[in-house]
């Protein structure tokens, strides 16, 4: 049954899953492997990672692969029909000022943004689920780390995540056997680790969803699907067919050998093999439909190829369309019973939108000049990272901002591209000619960069709503975004700048510009880190939250939100692993309730 159309779809699905990325892929996988009949609807086109332009070099691409408005992350980026803008599908910003601007990255393709993501896969820690209990700000989740930990284990085992267990504060260890060995550090990683240590900053192995060795297909399927022989067989075959990392060619272009996690290479193939999953692509869901009993009975969508409105039915509806798109669907699902949008009796749908605080500094390191030829493609980035390390000082109120950040960094002799040799005047005094060629050789591979990724506290000035007049080319009302950072985020961004300059200084290096001490100028615009979550937060009170701890909406018992919209806080840890863990947990819950005929 795999790929169907609006015409050939079945009538008796157990569950509709809207979206095919991290949340949709995980939900469909968990449900289909356990026997539920699932219909997945994806707004974009079908996509296979066999399209990945692996090993293709910049000179074969237009403009040697440079970023353009059509492909903002470069020609070879895996994103299809997406970016900061999607043709024919606008959104509205309430402010164009940097401080109030929100950017929304979308992808219209099977697998969504998992096809190009950075593959950084960090667990939230115990503090991250109960931040208000710790400092009085924001919201606590109705669940704690112990509720999610078993699902972090499962996701790591299924998708394959490298990393190490260091026992650091609020930086959880994984149980034995969960993590794959981390890749060897680059020369620049070694240097950063050595010099950061002198500043009291810990540098440890990164956690990324990249196979540094084959998955243990002999044991993992039984551990993941106990008592389910069919699922074990399918997963055994699938894990065997994944190739470990080739130590070359960027992850963000997609991986045809399936060495890293994309929904399209890891979740969907085994889910399809069960025969329990149907997928309709080019299906733009705009509304959840209700039966007379007040329960969801399906969704309305636009078949993008015919531009016709279509309907699909199921016992349960899961929204996994990405935080903002799921919010948009809820707010556009208006009825006499729900005039303000579905599942919105709290008035909280669209509220508490969060992104990650981002700020970066680059530097040039004389010690890394003129190194011998080295192949430093490695695992494609983030061999190592810095977890937040100032919990004690922060808790004592010494930092002036309430939440932490981790540091991602990089360096090395990366494949030369259309920006190689550019902007060197600050080092070369404007050389050209033979001297310029010598300079480029000298400086190639001697640059490092540091990016902070920090926690934003939810606030009532950062939200989205339906714009009163603008519609997309399908006639669907679009989102209007409001954004505001608080002093906590601005001070955090300024702290990042100082810290990165200190590390570069400790490496004997230089920054091109004076670091930005004004946090408002140091912070990247909202949405630009592409970690947007919230908008339909989970809680323990129907008056102040949209879903319960299972992602089940308070107002509609068979409507679930399985994506980042339910996040009640946005820890510094990149959200994707947590999205998958929550989607697996919610899907297990849905399976149990369907078995008990409660859904």
């Amino acid at each position: 049954m795999p790929f169907v159309t609006a015409e050939t779809q079945q009538k008796d699905y157990d569950v509709i899953v809207v979206g095919s990325g991290a949340a949709g892929g995980q939900s469909a996988y968990t449900l289909a492997m356990d026997g539920a009949r699932v219909l997945m609807l994806e707004a974009g086109r079908n996509y296979s990672a066999t399209e990945s332009p692996m090993f293709r070099t910049p000179d074969l691409a237009p403009l040697h692969g440079a970023d353009t408005p059509d492909k903002p992350f470069g020609f070879y980026d895996a994103t299809v029909d997406g970016g900061w803008s999607v043709p024919g599908e606008p959104y509205v910003r309430a402010s164009e000022e940097d401080a109030g601007r929100f950017e929304w990255w979308r992808a219209r393709m099977l697998g969504g943004r998992t096809n190009h993501w950075g593959r950084i896969a960090l667990r939230n820690g115990p503090y991250d689920f109960k931040p208000k209990a710790r400092d009085g700000l924001g919201f606590d989740w109705p669940i704690g780390y112990d509720d999610v930990a078993p699902y972090y284990d499962k996701v790591e085992l299924l998708i394959g995540v490298y990393g190490s267990n260091e026992g650091l504060e609020n930086t959880p260890n994984s149980p034995p056997g969960c993590l794959l060995p981390p890749p060897k550090p680059l020369v620049s990683d070694h240097l950063i680790r050595q010099r950061a240590k002198k500043l009291g900053i810990p540098v440890i192995a990164g956690h990324r969803a990249v196979l540094t060795q084959p998955l243990d297909f002999k044991h993992l399927p039984a551990r993941l699907h106990p008592g389910n022989a069919v699922a074990q067989k399918i997963l055994t075959d699938d894990m065997r067919s994944r190739t470990p990392c080739l130590w070359a060619t960027p992850c963000g272009s997609g991986c045809a050998v399936r060495a890293n996690y994309q929904s399209t290479t890891v979740h969907l193939p085994p889910a399809l093999k069960t025969g329990n999953l149907d997928i309709i692509t080019d299906a733009m869901v705009y509304e959840v439909t209700l039966g007379r009993d007040g329960r969801a009975n399906g969704v309305n969508f636009i078949d993008r190829r015919s531009a016709k409105q279509r309907h699909a039915t199921a016992r349960v509806v899961i929204l996994a369309a990405s935080a903002c798109e799921s919010v948009r669907i809820l707010l556009n699902s208006k009825s006499p019973q729900f005039p303000d949008g579905l599942a919105n009796s709290s008035g909280k749908v669209g509220q508490y939108l969060m992104d990650t605080v981002g700020s970066s500094v680059g530097g040039q390191i004389p010690l890394l000049e003129n190194l011998p030829p080295l192949n430093e493609d490695a695992a494609g980035g983030d061999q190592m990272y810095v977890p937040w390390w100032l919990y004690r000082e922060q808790h004592a109120g010494k930092l002036g901002f309430a939440r932490g950040y981790h540091i991602e960094f990089g360096g090395g002799k990366r494949m030369p591209g259309p920006d190689t040799g550019a902007g060197l005047e600050w080092l070369t005094g404007g050389s050209y000619g033979a001297k310029f060629k010598q300079d480029v050789r000298r400086y190639y591979g001697s640059f490092v960069w540091f990016s902070g990724r920090g926690e934003m506290i939810p606030n009532d000035k950062s939200f989205c709503e339906i714009d009163a007049s603008v519609k997309d080319k399908w006639g669907i009302p679009v989102l209007r975004f409001h954004w505001q950072w608080s002093e906590h985020e601005r001070r955090q961004a300024a702290h990042m700048q100082r810290t990165f300059a200190d590390i570069i200084d400790a490496m004997g290096g230089r920054t091109q510009h004076a670091v930005q001490s004004d946090g408002a100028k140091a912070i990247a615009p909202g949405g630009s880190i592409i970690h947007e979550v919230g908008g339909a937060i989970m809680g323990s009170d129907p008056k102040s939250s949209v879903t319960n701890s299972w992602g089940q909406t308070w107002d509609v018992s068979n409507l679930f939100i399985n994506d980042g919209a339910v996040f009640a806080s946005n820890a510094d840890k990149n959200p994707t692993l947590t999205i998958m863990a929550l989607a697996w947990r919610a899907s297990d819950h849905i399976l149990g309730r369907m078995r008990r005929k409660e859904l």
């Binding site: 399209e51 990945s52 332009p53 293709r56 070099t57 910049p58 000179d59 074969l60 237009p62 403009l63 040697h64 440079a66 353009t68 408005p69 059509d70 492909k71 020609f75 070879y76 299809v80 997406g82 890749p183 060897k184 550090p185 680059l186 020369v187 070694h190 240097l191 050595q194 080739l246 130590w247 070359a248 272009s253 010690l367 190194l371 011998p372 030829p373 080295l374 192949n375 430093e376 695992a379 002799k413 494949m415 030369p416 591209g417 920006d419 190689t420 040799g421 550019a422 902007g423 005047e425 005094g429 404007g430 050389s431 050209y432 000619g433 310029f436 060629k437 480029v440 050789r441 190639y444």
Partner: protein
């Protein structure tokens, strides 16, 4: 580039040499064709000129080649920029139908006009006709924006962009990768990390 800026350049150069005809109009010509869209075929080669027409004139391409080779000449390690195809790259760049590339088009073609005017003012010839020593005299004045005379700031900005484009077009080719001893982009069975002897020599082991 707007007309005011172009005029400013022409005035800055002294305008003794007749400005090339339609110099500012040339820099402001709208792009021809469309971009490659949000779902281009990533698996096939796209030689310059295939997706949108190249728009530099023969004279502009000759000047582009000479200037690129002044910035990246052949040396004992590798050929010069034009031999690596940089002129096609820059022509594709300034012809690209995207607004940010159109900004660069204005700067590059405006800068070509300035070079022409400046060469005429100082040597009574077009830039490509003066000898290498004369060409370098002009480049020396504009190779570093932070040291350039106020009147030459715009021209120095042009030179900085042109050097960036030349480098980007050169080092992203097989010739450029070889020049930098880049040895990646090959599948490996495992990643061994840097040699211990190197780490030791850097005090990292």
């Amino acid at each position: 580039m707007d007309r005011r800026t172009t005029l400013k350049w022409v005035l800055a150069a002294g305008a003794l040499w007749p400005p090339r005809r339609n110099q500012d109009a040339r820099a402001n010509e709208p792009a021809v064709g469309r971009g490659y869209g949000t779902d281009p075929n990533l698996a096939v080669n796209h030689p310059a000129g295939e997706l949108w027409p190249l728009t530099m004139t023969g004279a502009e391409r000759r000047l582009a080649g000479i200037l690129s080779d002044i910035i990246i000449p052949a040396d004992g390690f590798s050929p010069g920029a034009s031999a690596a195809g940089v002129v096609d790259f820059i022509d594709e760049w300034v012809s690209a139908p995207y607004s940010n590339f159109q900004r660069d088009r204005g700067i590059v073609l405006g800068g070509f006009g300035w070079l022409h005017t400046e060469a005429g003012r100082r040597f009574g010839k077009a830039f490509i006709e003066i000898d290498a020593a004369g060409q370098l005299l002009i480049c020396d004045d504009i190779c570093d924006e932070s040291r350039a005379a106020d009147a030459l700031r715009e021209a120095a900005r042009f030179f900085a962009l042109y050097r960036d484009l030349t480098a980007g077009g050169f080092y992203s080719t097989p010739i450029g990768r070889k020049d930098l001893d880049y040895i990646g982009n090959v599948p490996l069975v495992g990643f061994a990390g840097p040699p211990p002897a190197l780490l030791k020599s850097l005090g990292l082991l």
